[in-house]
Structure formats: structure tokens, C-alpha cells
Symmetry: C2
Subunit: 126 residues, 2 copies
DNA sequence: GACCATGGTGACCTCCACGTAACCGAGGCA
DNA sequence: TGCCTCGGTTACGTGGAGGTCACCATGGTC
């Protein structure tokens, strides 16, 4: 049963919970997952990312990419030409992240209706 | 390949990305995953949760539980006794969430070292 | 009458994630 | 001499997440 495995891992609170929080802090911000999803489709230039992700500001795209680069999830390649050309891509480590993300995404797609319904019921009760 | 599936889902930006953001907003806050993890081990009373989760304040525990209850992930059972007794447990829907959470947790445990190392290298370069 | 535990609620404050807007430097091009 | 593009950086402002602390109702118990 899945619950048992989860419990076992969660039980080691010092190591596990704090670590999962660290990765949630990384991936749980507003743009990281979207950027990772876009880069999952292939290498992208800065401006390509900006155009592909509606609503993201230049500043936030830079910040998000820096964070992902710092954590070794994304690689940054500068081509010394004019105008500048910078390519971003998922690293091998970044690629391995796609699977857990996909699992979560899939869960969201499968159960969003139930959640929506539960919210309606809860709010209806007051 | 996992990347392809992820990309396909992410490609439907309107439906998928916004939905995964919704679930990340729920699960990505500071305490929800920890509470879910604890409840994954079995039903718990309010005070048991408070004691089991070091650092959480009464107010945040209440808020977190209310949010999870609203989304149908956690059930709340009040026993009309004195002093009050309130039991919290994962709903069937909440139980299904354990698997994707476990996947993410597992990824975190497997790759945290690499991330730590990447951070060190990045910060070292300045 | 005073004190305890339980399961909260509400006022208040702080900090930071995020948004907006302006600016920048190198070179091509007209 | 400007003006363009690309890939940023910097200054500044704001909302909301989350922390702290006080307070509360109930009834048992001493």
C-alpha cells in the first residue's frame, strides 16, 4: 500500500519532510513548473521562453531561470554574438524531475473535478 | 519517454498548466504536505497533529486543515464531548494524493544531494 | 471559586514573492 | 547619428502568506 511507504518516509521527519519542503519551495513557486514544462519540450532561447509563457515578466523569467540553474536543473549556454543569444535546456537532473511532475500533473487532471465539487459543497454549507 | 507525455500535457496550456497550478497552490503551501503526510499514517486529533508537527502554530494548523477539508482531501469529525474531541483523517480522495506525493518525495530523497552539490558549485562561481 | 484541557478565533505585524517600469551595453544597419 | 534587438539588471510598490499573542466556551475536578 502506498500509504505505508509514504508514512515511513514522512516518519523520518528531520531528513525527509525538510527535504521535500526544499524541493516544493523550488518547484512550488509561480513559474518554475511552467518553465520546466516548456523546456521539457526542448531547448529554448530566453525570448522564446518569454513568448511561450504568457504573463511572465522579464524579471521573473530571469529569476526563475537563475534559481533552476543554481539547482542544476537547467543549463544556460551563452553564445558570444551580437545581439546576444542564450540557450536554456533541462540538464539530465532536470529531465529526471519530469516524471514526478508528470505524476502530480496527472493526479491534478484526474481529480480536479472532485476537488471543484468538494469546494462547492463546502462553500454551500457555509 | 516521459518527457513526451509531459510535453503533451503541458502543451494544452489553458487546461493543464492552470490546473496543475491550482493543485500546487493547495499542496505547495508551507504545511499541507506535512499534515497530509501525518494523516497518511492514520486518523489524528487536532492536538496530536499539533504535537506531531513541530513548528506549526495553532492558527496555521487550523487554516491548513480548513483548506484541505474544503478541497475534500481531509474529513473532520467532531465528537460532542467535553473537552471537545475532533478527529481528522484523509478522505479516499486524500488517499489517492499520497501516490504522487510519494513520487515527488522519492525524487527529492534521490536527488537532493545533486541539488545541494549544484548549489555549492553555482555559489562558488559567484 | 479557581484552574485545567481542548479546539479553536481574531487582531496585529512582518517579510518576501511577485509585478511594473525604466534603464543598459554591444554592435548592425540605415 | 540615431534606432533596433537581445538578454538582462535595478528601483520601487503591493498583497498575501504566515508568525505571535491574546482571548474564548465548556464542563470536570479540587
Amino acid at each position: 500500500m502506498v500509504a505505508d511507504r509514504v508514512s515511513d518516509v514522512f516518519a523520518a521527519r528531520d531528513s525527509a519532510t525538510c527535504r521535500v519542503r526544499e524541493i516544493l519551495d523550488r518547484v512550488g513557486d509561480k513559474w518554475s513548473l511552467t518553465v520546466i514544462g516548456e523546456l521539457g519540450r526542448g531547448s529554448r532561447r530566453f525570448t522564446e521562453l518569454k513568448n511561450a509563457i504568457p504573463g511572465i515578466s522579464q524579471r521573473m523569467l530571469t529569476a526563475t531561470l537563475r534559481g533552476l540553474e543554481r539547482d542544476g536543473l537547467v543549463s544556460r549556454t551563452v553564445h558570444p554574438v551580437v545581439p546576444p543569444r542564450v540557450d536554456y535546456a533541462l540538464t539530465p537532473l532536470g529531465l529526471t524531475l519530469l516524471e514526478p511532475v508528470w505524476t502530480l500533473l496527472n493526479w491534478a487532471l484526474e481529480h480536479m473535478d472532485e476537488i471543484e465539487e468538494a469546494r462547492g459543497a463546502y462553500d454551500g454549507r457555509g
